[in-house]
Each structure stands twice: as C-alpha cells, then as structure tokens.
Symmetry: C2
Subunit: 188 residues, 2 copies
C-alpha cells in the first residue's frame, strides 16, 4: 500500500483521509471495532416475509441507519411461493457480492487507483432434495458458490486483480460463507 500517502482527498467516492483517520483511532482503541448488526423479520403469508433493518452497535455507541430499509423475501411460483421478493438464498449471493465490492472501493481508493467499473456475477448451486427432506446425503444449503469479478480502472490489470483479491481476503461475508458461523437459536 505504498501509494497511500499520495491520496490526500476523496477518491472513487471514498473519503480517504477520513478512512485512514478512522483506522488510526481504532488502532488506538480496539474496542471501537466491536460491532453488532441486527435485523427483524415478520412473516406475511405463505413463504413471504418482510425484513426490516435495525439500529446497530459499533464504535462504542448505538447507531441508527439514516433510514429504515425494508425488504421482501419469498419463494418463486415454481416452489409454490408468490415471488414477492428474492428467495432467502439469493440474499446470500447479494451479501457476498456487495461485501467484496465495498472492500474494492476502499482498497482501490487507499491505493490511489481510480475505478471506472466493478461488476460481479455470482451463482449458487443447490440440490433441493436436501430441504425437501428427500435425501440424507444431500445438504440443505448451496453445494458451491461461484463469483466472478470484472474490474476496470487506471492501474495495470495485475494491480486491479490484487485489489479484488485483497478485498476477498478481508471480506466479512466471504469468511462467513466459506468458514461458517455458530448460530444460537431460540424459540420464545
């Protein structure tokens, strides 16, 4: 990251000086890095649910999003749903693509690289015999996920590739999906 010293202002929509200042503050007070994200869901009908964003804890305090985000999820007609929203498993794909993309924005900016295009396609292969309970040998979730990035900017292809790979290596969602997370489950 030897180019970082040359970035004295915003780049790619990232306020680079503030980004570095934020990292410096956290380096000096590590508990500011403790975050808790939250969501609420409400069943509507059939397979249709509504998800609502919540405030989150982080940087030593409670925070609110600037507005409340509301999403619908459902199953498609072929799975006897009403297609009022994406399937729950598609939200996993959104999370992965968005996380690595956000990191690319930060890393490229910190390295002084101006981005002109970052796109990805992501697919998840799943055998529904698992969730249908038809086979004990088939898992419930995706067998595999594939994500493919296209990136363009004012740096050599090799540098752009490194930025994407560095973002993957620092991606929260990539870690969650590839390594798993313990889930505590409760019915009130």
């Amino acid at each position: 990251m030897s180019q970082t010293a040359t970035v004295n202002g915003p780049l790619n929509g990232v306020d680079v000086p503030t980004l570095f200042a934020t990292l410096d503050v956290v380096k000096g007070q590590r508990d500011l890095a403790t975050f808790q994200f939250r969501a609420k869901s409400r069943w509507v009908a059939g397979n249709h649910s509504q998800l609502t964003s919540q405030g989150f804890y982080g940087a030593g305090t409670e925070n609110e999003h600037q507005r409340t985000f509301v999403f619908d999820a459902d199953h498609p007609a072929v799975l006897v749903g009403k297609d009022n929203g994406p399937t729950p498993v598609e939200f996993i794909l959104y999370a992965l693509a968005a996380c690595i993309t956000a990191g690319i924005g930060n890393i490229a900016s910190a390295r002084g690289v101006t981005l002109t295009r970052v796109e990805s396609t992501v697919v998840g292969d799943i055998d529904l015999q698992g969730i249908f309970g038809m086979s004990d040998e088939v898992r419930n979730g995706y067998k595999q996920v594939k994500i493919r990035f296209t990136i363009e900017g004012d740096a050599p292809a090799e540098t752009l590739r490194e930025i994407v790979e560095q973002s993957r290596d620092r991606s929260a969602v990539y870690d969650i999906i590839t390594n798993g997370v313990p889930v505590e489950f409760e019915v009130a």
Copy 2:
C-alpha cells in the same frame, strides 16, 4: 406429519395440495431438484453497490422472477460509507430470518396449523479488527449469530416450537451459515 392428510386446500397462504403434488413429482424425478440461483452486482461509488436479481435454473428449465428485484448495499457513515443501503453483513441476517420463516409457513401449513404471527430478531456480533487487518487472531466475519423466533397459531406451544425447529433443520441458509460453502473466485 400425520395431520397432512387433513389439509385439502390453501392454508396460511400456502397451496398445500400443490406443495405436496410438487414434492411427489420431484420424488419421481430427482433432477428437478437441481437449482442454480444468480445475482449481479455493480459498484456505484465508495462502498455503495447495487444488486440485481437474475433468472434462475430449476425444475429442469430456466425461470424468471415475476419482476427484477434491485437492492442497494453500502457502509454506514461511521464506517466512512454513505448509508445508501444495509451493510453486506446485514443481508446475511435477512437471508437467515427469511429462510427459516418461509419454511415455517410451509411446515405449519402441511401440518394443518394456522399461523397468526411469526417474527424473529437476529443479531450478528463482529469484531472489525479482522477486516481492518489489525489482528491475525480476529476473523473477518461474524463471531456468532443469534436468532430468536416468536410464533403464534392454533396449536400447542410445543407443536409450534417443533415447527420452528423443523424449519431450522431444513433451512438452506442455516446450513450455509453454520457449515460454510466452498466459494470459487475469479477475476476476469
């Protein structure tokens, strides 16, 4: 599931006869259970990306959603983003809540239980020292996720609890998050 024979029509917005007919067809032709879900992402600026739903393969053919779903993801101001959407890690929480909720809709309906309320709160604890690259001992993703369901309907509490637990045990997203999935990564 001994009550299933008594459900002759729609319940809770689930067309139960069609649900069972669909399962019967798949039992007879297992390759119909092969699905592939897809998404596209496009970087907008900074940490902001836009996710767009795509068609999906399943039940032996290409399928389209009834409409295209578009979502924004971003980082909040405290993480030097513009808060144009939830964070990528919040989409993980939405996926989990939506998946188990959709299953509850199906399972309760198949068992002849009328639901009046299903809600969940889900939280994910994360130490951002991981993604900030400040500690090799801290993982990038959530340390743990906790989900808590409230369910009401015309069945004993024990039956309602069993329905939620059965849905968890057949949840694609619960499996993805707790057990992980291999991710194939490519930069074009």
